[in-house]
Each structure stands twice: as structure tokens, then as C-alpha cells.
Assembly symmetry: C2
Homo-oligomer: 338 residues x 2
């Protein structure tokens, strides 16, 4: 029965496949799979498998500002799930109203699980390792590992939820907290009309969006913006070379001076653009990238066409029920604004 | 049929009513009604009746940080629905990391609709008028009316939602925005075991909680903490007189030097306490209030008993589906951190 079903799906797929679909696949563009089993293979963490209890706990921690030194900055402050997964400002503002000293723009958390590396310089290998950074960075959440551990362990409800998620002998360490936040982030994937199209629904994208996808491939955008994330790898430009925008502070990219290719998923919702957040208009960003990365001068028609395609990347966000957090107790560390 | 039903309910009510229930009612303690019609009478705004479209829009605006000058502070930043409706710090931190200059503590937004007046000095008559304050206050969201109007009008989705809510001729003014936020806040009511008890369910509160309610009434707490909100009126202490806590800044209460009685609903989740946020422990707060307001020295047993009662005030929060906000456009005002 299963075999018959597979064959039937395959036949439909062949019948409806257009050459543009093939071109996209040949260019390395891969949809978010429709099968939840296939999706799970892509997003799950073998060392810490996704379960409902962990996800629910991870969501609470993601939204809990008490993890920060001040008690008022959460992961969601700069990676706001209601705002395309970022904060809509050039450089995030953290503890004591400090702008990110690298002057880099907060990337979206949506679909970050698909990235080959995390942070603009790719210094973290996955979302779990990434989650350790901003919590401790002084210009961001400014917390110490003991602060985070003390906060979480001070609330019996949190401890009970960790036991429910990981077993009664769990030790609520900083790493357990960040691993659980990372695990929640693995669920933040946003399939879109583009995925529906690549998964075989010829009509999921409008004719203008399909034209845009064609232009996107022809111009060469898919060289870097490829894979499931349409980005996420360290194969982009050398910022110290051709790319000399203002205000990158002391940010120098990775050891090779390379900067990570950002995802294009939900890109219509994540202005401002580039690692320094200096471009606010998506069409300007498209034009600039073609010029800098591909040495191409795009016509307005091409820019508009690619811009149309980007709309097909607006994803269906998971429904987030806002978490009701455990109440602080007498032993919860007090907020420290200094 | 309807009459029979009413009689039946009345009979049940008489049969199950305890003298404590009567004492509570005689002390002016009123439950949140179970009938949604009765509840609507209490919370609705006759000048701007509650509808689903307005509530959904109001929720988006409540959570939208782009209403602030910086683009990163929303109503929910200081009145966090996941944290008991407040921010858990002594004095809220606003634009440019400025602490509230009055050094007053952010009150919970939950059940604020039941208050007779808003703000600690009661200067706003309802939640709609209150909503105008923090958005414009420089140490809070630091926005101007034109900023707010420009932000909302720059996004076609917002304008469409205003039309859906108020009709096609609606003008999206600052006041329309704050009225809609206030309207959302009217829905943030949290019935609890205490309400179930006062509504006739003898077993809704534990014996210890009922003892606590008895002590609460006997000691005199219900003199000020009364009505549906267990507070919310301007009948409390003269801060320039007996009440001389540190750090009230330039806050002087209302024209008579009076400070609003805070609600006790969800009080276990809204530390720190008092208008200056100087007391972190609920038992200390109970003891201090009895001393200052009632001239009573409570025994530890009485304090513990009242503290038990407070747990019955932990309400059932409305389920909040986190809003996905419209994307900024080319005309949306840019964030300004200065």
C-alpha cells in the first residue's frame, strides 16, 4: 500500500513538473519537505531529540527576559517572532542601551536551523551553540552562566519542566538551558508558496513570482542563496575586499574575511538588510548584491522580478501561544540594570 | 423556563453559601461574573464596543515595538502578559535605558479594566486614556502622536484592519490607536479560584485559602482592597504622611497626596511590590501594609494565612496567540535610538 502511494505521488510529480522546477533543483534550491518525517530528519538534533515537553520549555526560556542581567531582555527581544524573527533595527540594542559593537544586524531566527553555521562570521556550528552567545554577551543580555542557572533553578515550575523533559536526574545547567532554547528554535521553520511550488504544486506561485525565480537563477543569485535556507553558508563575500560599507565596527568576518550568506526566507519582513543593516529597501538590496557579488548591473525589470519572487518566500509561521512564565521566587536573582 | 432556571440557581446558591461567602460580599468583595453577558457589562466600552476585529488589531498594536521611537519597546515590554502583566523590576526601563523618573513600579495590565482610575496617581480615567501616556512619555516609549500615526498608516495591512474594525471611513489617528489598545486590555481579565468560590463553588478554594480570606477580611485589608479588582481606587495612603519609603523620586500621588490601591489579583506573580517597587517578598508586603495602613501588627500566622489566600487570586489568563505583525514598508519611520 505504501509502495503504491509512493508511486502515485511520484507520477503526479512528474506530470506537473515544469522545466523551471528542474532548473531550480539543479541550482541547488531545495524545498522544505511536506512530509513531517522528512522535515524531522532535517531539523532534529540526534543528540537531543525534539519532544513536545522540550519544545514547550524551550519556548518559555526563549521568551523569558529574566535570563538577562537586567531581567528585561529575552531572546525574543532581538529575534521577535512577530516581526519576521528579527528586530527591524540596524544593530540590536542590548544591556544599558548598548548597540551591538560589531554593528551587525540581528539575523532572523526563523529557519536558522537550516544554516550551515550561525552568526555572521559563522563561529557557532548550530542553533544550540549560537544560543550561548547573546545571553552572555555584555552588550546583549549581559548574563553569566551562574546567573542563568540561578534564575531557572530558583523556580520550581521550571525545574519540574526540565525533569519532565529530560528525566528526574537532570541537572539544569547553562548548557541545558541553551540546548533547550536551541531545540525550540529548530521548530521555527516557515514553509511558503515557494516550497509548495518546488514540492510539485505548479500553481502555488504566481506567474510573476515564477518569472522572478527564473531571473533569480539566471542572474546567479542561487549560487550563494541556495539549499533549503536560500543561504546560511560561509560562501559569501570578503568584507575587507570588495565590500566596504560603513559602520561594520570591529567586525571582520571569519578567518578568511568571509561573511555568512543570509537566508532569503521571509526577507520581505526582515529589513534592514546586509550584515551592517545599512540597506532598508529590498530592491536596493537586490541591486547592490548583484553589483557587488556578481558584478552585474540589473535592470529595473530584473530587480522588480526578483523582488516579486521574494514574496513567494513569505512563510507560514508556526502558531505561537504566548508562554505564561513561572513566577519569580525569593531566591530568583534580582534584576541588575548596571 | 428562564424563570425556573433562575430560581434553581438561586436555590443552589443559598444552599451552598457559607457565612464566609456572605462576609466577603458584605466586605465589598465582588467576583468576576461567570456569565459572559454580565462580564461584558463590566468590561465593555459603550463608546467603542468590543468586537473580535478590534481585539485582534488591539493585540497587534499592544505587541508592536514600532510604536516607540526606538522601534524596540512595546506595551508588552513593561506590561508583559507572560510575566503577570508587568515587568518584574522596581522601576520600568524605557527609551535610552532610562528608569521611570518617578521611580514607580509598572502595575499589571491584567484586570486593569476594573480599576476606578489608572496610574498610581489616578490621573487617567480608563485604560484608553492610560494607553496614551507611556507611548508618549520620553523615559518610556518616547514617541510622538505623528510618529505613531505614521507608523500605523505606513502599513497597508494595519490600515485594512482598522477599516475592518471601524468601517471604511476610519481615520487612523493616535487616539484611534490607543483606544484600540485599551479595548484589547479590556479583555485581559483573569478569573480565579477565588471567583469560583464567590460565585458559589464552596470547594474552589482550599481550607487554608478560605482561612486566609477570613483573616484578610477580619484584619481590614478589604477596606481598601475591595470591589472586583481587590483594589483600583484612590482611597489609599497619603505618601507624604505616614508612608515614607525611599526612592519615590518626584512622585507625589494625586492632588490629595493619595496613591492608588493596587489590585491583588495575580499578586503572587507581580513582585516587586508597592508603588516604589521596594518590597520583593509578598509576606513582607502584607506585614508592612497592615502596619502602615491599619496600624496593625500581624502575627506570622496571620501573614501566612493571608499569603495563602493570595494564591487563590492567581487567575486563569486568556490564551494569547502571539501576533504576527505587518511588515514595515518604505514609508515606515525608521527606528531612532537617540
Amino acid at each position: 500500500m505504501k509502495k503504491i502511494l509512493t508511486l502515485a505521488v511520484a507520477t503526479t510529480s512528474i506530470l506537473s513538473a515544469s522545466s523551471l522546477m528542474d532548473d531550480a533543483k539543479n541550482a541547488g534550491l531545495t524545498p522544505i519537505p511536506t512530509s513531517s518525517l522528512e522535515l524531522m530528519k532535517l531539523v532534529d538534533n540526534p543528540k537531543n531529540p525534539i519532544t513536545d515537553a522540550k519544545v514547550e520549555l524551550g519556548k518559555k526560556l526563549y521568551f523569558d527576559p529574566r535570563l538577562s542581567k537586567s531581567g528585561i531582555i529575552s531572546c525574543n527581544t532581538c529575534h521577535n517572532l512577530g516581526e519576521g524573527g528579527d528586530d527591524g533595527v540596524e544593530a540590536s540594542i542590548g544591556h544599558k542601551w548598548t548597540a551591538n559593537p560589531h554593528h551587525v544586524n540581528a539575523p532572523t531566527v526563523y529557519n536558522a536551523v537550516f544554516f550551515e553555521a550561525q552568526f555572521w562570521d559563522g563561529r557557532a556550528k548550530d542553533v544550540e551553540e549560537q544560543a550561548q552567545g547573546p545571553i552572555q554577551a555584555h552588550p546583549e543580555m549581559a548574563a553569566t552562566k551562574p546567573h542563568v542557572e540561578n534564575v531557572v533553578n530558583s523556580m520550581p515550575q521550571y525545574v519540574a519542566e526540565f525533569k519532565k523533559a529530560y528525566g528526574k536526574d537532570v541537572k539544569v545547567s547553562f548548557e541545558k538551558v541553551t540546548d533547550t532554547i536551541g531545540l525550540y528554535e529548530r521548530t521555527l521553520v516557515t514553509p511558503s508558496a515557494y516550497d509548495d511550488y518546488l514540492n510539485g504544486d505548479e500553481n502555488a506561485m504566481s506567474p510573476a513570482q515564477k518569472d522572478g525565480l527564473k531571473t533569480f537563477i539566471q542572474v546567479g543569485c542561487a549560487t550563494c542563496h541556495t539549499g533549503v535556507a536560500l543561504g546560511g553558508a560561509m560562501n559569501a563575500f570578503n568584507i575587507t575586499g570588495t565590500y566596504k560599507y560603513q559602520n561594520v565596527g570591529d567586525f571582520k568576518g571569519d578567518a578568511n574575511g568571509m561573511v555568512k550568506v543570509p537566508t532569503l526566507r521571509n526577507v520581505t519582513q526582515t529589513a534592514p538588510y546586509f550584515h551592517n543593516g545599512k540597506i532598508w529597501n529590498l530592491k536596493d538590496a537586490i541591486k547592490e548584491m548583484a553589483r557587488i557579488q556578481l558584478g552585474a548591473k540589473l535592470s529595473d525589470k530584473e530587480v522588480n522580478s526578483i523582488n516579486e519572487f521574494m514574496k513567494a518566500l513569505e512563510g507560514r509561521k508556526p502558531t505561537v501561544t504566548y508562554p505564561m512564565l513561572p513566577a519569580s521566587t525569593a531566591t530568583t536573582p534580582k534584576p541588575d540594570m548596571n
